[in-house]
Symmetry: C3
Subunit: 335 residues, 3 copies
Amino acid sequence: SQNNGTVSCRALEVDKSSSSYSVGKKFQVTDVIEAQQFDRDLLGAIFDVAREMEKIEKKSPGSQILKGYLMATLFYEPSTRTRLSFESAMRRLGGEVLTTENAREFSSAAKGETLEDTIRTVEGYSDIIVMRHFESGAAKRAAATAGIPVINAGDGPGQHPTQALLDVYTIEREIGKLDGIKVALVGDLANGRTVRSLAYLLARYNDVKIYFVSPDVVKMKNDIKDYLTSRNIQWEESADLMEVASKCDVVYQTRIQRERFGERIDLYEEARGKYIVDSRVLEVMQTHAVVMHPLPRLDEITVDVDGDSRAAYFRQAKNGLYIRMALLKLLLVGW
Amino acid sequence: SQNNGTVSCRALEVDKSSSSYSVGKKFQVTDVIEAQQFDRDLLGAIFDVAREMEKIEKKSPGSQILKGYLMATLFYEPSTRTRLSFESAMRRLGGEVLTTENAREFSSAAKGETLEDTIRTVEGYSDIIVMRHFESGAAKRAAATAGIPVINAGDGPGQHPTQALLDVYTIEREIGKLDGIKVALVGDLANGRTVRSLAYLLARYNDVKIYFVSPDVVKMKNDIKDYLTSRNIQWEESADLMEVASKCDVVYQTRIQRERFGERIDLYEEARGKYIVDSRVLEVMQTHAVVMHPLPRLDEITVDVDGDSRAAYFRQAKNGLYIRMALLKLLLVGW
Amino acid sequence: SQNNGTVSCRALEVDKSSSSYSVGKKFQVTDVIEAQQFDRDLLGAIFDVAREMEKIEKKSPGSQILKGYLMATLFYEPSTRTRLSFESAMRRLGGEVLTTENAREFSSAAKGETLEDTIRTVEGYSDIIVMRHFESGAAKRAAATAGIPVINAGDGPGQHPTQALLDVYTIEREIGKLDGIKVALVGDLANGRTVRSLAYLLARYNDVKIYFVSPDVVKMKNDIKDYLTSRNIQWEESADLMEVASKCDVVYQTRIQRERFGERIDLYEEARGKYIVDSRVLEVMQTHAVVMHPLPRLDEITVDVDGDSRAAYFRQAKNGLYIRMALLKLLLVGW
C-alpha cells in the first residue's frame, strides 16, 4: 500500500490464494474420463501438484496423504504397465489397493451382470475406481453410475486420459514450455489413441506446430486435422522424418500395431520399417529436443538411442507415476 | 443398592459384561465353515459387532484394529466379488492381504499337492486364510489342518456362510426384527446354496414364515422343507408371486443358473422368465418391505426397481463388508 | 585391560563391531542372482539376520523396517508359493507390494517388448524387483539393467538362490551346525535346480559328506560331482536309501518331475516309486536327523512321516519367510 507499483501485484496474489486451485479447494473434476475435460489452466494446476509429488520421499508426511483410502483397479483387459503405475501411485501416498486383473468374470456371458451393477457393488468396497475396459464409452457409463470418483485407464479405442496428461507434463518438464513448441507425431497415427489425445491437448497452447509423419496406411484422420485447423493450430504432413526431426522440440514415436493389419503382413512389415528413430535421427535433432514414446516399443526406436540424454521415454513412463499420484490426491482430498 | 427397582437391572448389566460375548473374551468360533455353526445368540452378538464396523471411519482408531495381521485369500475358483469384499474388509481394519486368485496351480494335476500340504505352507505366511474351493467339504478339511483360522468363502455346492450371515443381518437392518417375519424365497431354490443356508438360519427365529416361489424344475428340496417342519417353521409353496409379495417383509430373488440346465435351453428360458420382480411387484409390496438378491442379477429384477428405496440388494452387498469385518476382527482379536 | 587374558577378546569384539557385516554397513550384494554369490562368512551373517527376523512380532518396531518401500513381484511364470513367501516377507517388515502374476503380457509376442525395457519401466514404480522367469539368465540381465535391487525367484532351469539359502539355513537351525554334516540328496538329481544349488553351497563348509540316491535316469550330473571333488568335498552314489538314511544328518528328498519324461510314463512310474521316505526310513534315521523337501511333494514322502518331529519340511518352508525377510532388509536398508 506504500508503493503503488505493488498494489496490483498483491491483488494478484490475493486472487491466486483464493483461486479455485488453491489448497483446500475441491477438485473441479469428479471423474477423469477424457482428455478434453482439461483446459490449459487446469492442466497447469495439475502439473504443479505433480511436481510436488516428485518431491515426496518415503518418510515425508506427504507419503501418508491417502492413508485409509482404498483404490479398486477394475481391469476388464490386462494392462500390467498401467495398473502397476496406478497402484504404485496410490501406495506412494499411503493408500491401499484392491486389484482385479480379470474383471471380465464379473460380467461374463454366463453370468451377464451389467457394468452398472458391478460398479454399484465395487463402490461399496472402495473410495475410488480405476477402470480399464475394452469398450469405448465404458468409463463414462461407470462414472454416471458411481457415487465415488472413476478414472478411465483406457477404454478400448476410446480414451486414455492419464496417458495424454503425462505426455503433456513430460513435454513441459523436458522442454520447459508448451507455448510455441514444435512436435512431430510419428508412426501409427490412425489407430493410436495416444497421439490423438495428445493432439487435442496440444491445441490448448499457443503457437504450437504439429508434424504428422506416418506411413500412408496409418495416416492421422481428418477429425483431428479439422479440429486443429478450427483451433488455429498449424499442422503439416511430411514424409521426411529427418527434416522434421531437425526442426522439432519433440519427436513422439509410436508403435505400428500388427493387429491392425489382419492378414496383410506385407503391409505391416512395410509400414513398421518406414520411420525408425535411430542414431542418425538423433544426429540431426537439436540438443534441447527429446524423443518420446508411450511404450512398449519394438524396434521403432533402436536401442542405441537409449543412452542419449534426449531419450525421454523412460522418464516419461516415470512421469506417469507423478501425474497419477496428483490425480488420486486431487480426486480424493482436493487441492 | 439404594433403590430396589434398580437392583435387578444392575444384576443384568453385570451379567452382560461378564457374558461370553463381552469385550476381551475369545470368539467362540475358531473357523467359519458353515451357517449351522451360528445360533441365535451368537448371530445377535456378531450383528452388534457388524454395526460397530459400520461406524469405523478412515481416521478412527478402529481402522487399525488388525494392523500387522495378514490375511491370505486362497481362491481355487475365481469370485472377484467375494474376494474384493473380504480384502476390503481386512484393509478397512488396517490389515494386509496376500492374494491368490489361481490357487489351483498349487494342486495342479501335474504337481498334485494335497490341499492339506498347501494349507500347511500358507499358514506359515499368514494369520488367517479365506478360502474358496470348487469341492464341497474343502473348507472343513482346510480348517482341520490349519493352526490359524479358516473362513469358508464358498466351497462348491456346499456352504457360503458369510453370505448367509450378511443376508440375515440385512433383514434385521432393513425390517428391524427377525422374529415374526415373512420371507419369500424366489427363483432357483434347488441349486442356490444361498437360499438353502438362509432357510437354515431363519429357522433360528420365532414365528417366521417362508414362502417358496419357484419354477417347477428348480423347486426347494425336501431336506430343507423337512428341517423347517422339524423346527416348527411355517412354510408354503406358491405359484403366485404377486399374492406372496403383498404379504411378505422380504422378497428374496435369485438368479436361475443356465449352467444347471445343460442342453435344455428351452427349459432354462421358460424357468428364468417365470418370476420377475418388476414395478408391478413393487406396487403390491408393503411400504416397509424390501427386495433382496445375492447378486449378480440378470433380468430377474428389472432395472426400474433399482430406484425404489425398497430395493435393498446393493445395501445388502455393502453389508457383506461389515459382516466380514466383524468376523475377521472376532477371529483374530476376539470380542 | 586389567586382565591380559581379555585383551585379545576385546580386540576381537572391536574387530567384529567394525566388520563389514555390522549394523549400518551396506550389504555387499546389490542383487541376489545365484547361490554362488554367497561365501561362508556372508551366509553366516545373513543367517544371523534371519534369526532376528524370526523374533519380529506384529507390534515390535522391527515390523516397520521397510515402511514406505515398494516391492514389485514380476512373475513371468506362476509360482504362488514363492510369490506368497516374498510378499509375506515384505509385509511382515511393513513394506508394500505390487503384484504381477502374468508378466508375460509385458513381453508378449504380439507386443514384443524386451525384458530390459520392462525392467526400466518397473524400476520407476518400485524400490526392489523380485523376478521369476522361464529363461535361464533372465535375472542376470534384469539386474544388469535395473538401478534398483533384483532378486532372482527362479529363472527356468537356472538358479533359485533364495531356496538354496533357506535350505542351508534350515540345516543349521535343525542340526545346529554345517561343518561335518552328512547329507543325502534323494530323488531327481538331474533336473532339480534345488539339489544342485544346495550341493554348491554345502561345498562352502568343512568335512561335509554328500550321498546321491537317485534312479538311474535322473542321476546327479558330472559338473556338480567334479565341482565337489575340486573342493575336496566327499561324495558317493548309493542305491541303498536305508543304509544312507541311517548315517545321515539330513535326508533331502525331492519330487520326480513327470514333465521330464515326455511320453515315457513307464520310466516315470518306475523312477518315482523307487526311493520313498516312509516310516521305515524314519526308523533307521538317527534321533537328531531330519527329513527335508523343497515342496510341493506327491507321495515321495508318505503322510505318516508328517507327524514325526524329524519331518522338517514345513518348518523349512517357513524358514523361507525369514531368509526372504533378511534379504529384503539387507538389500533395502543394509546390515
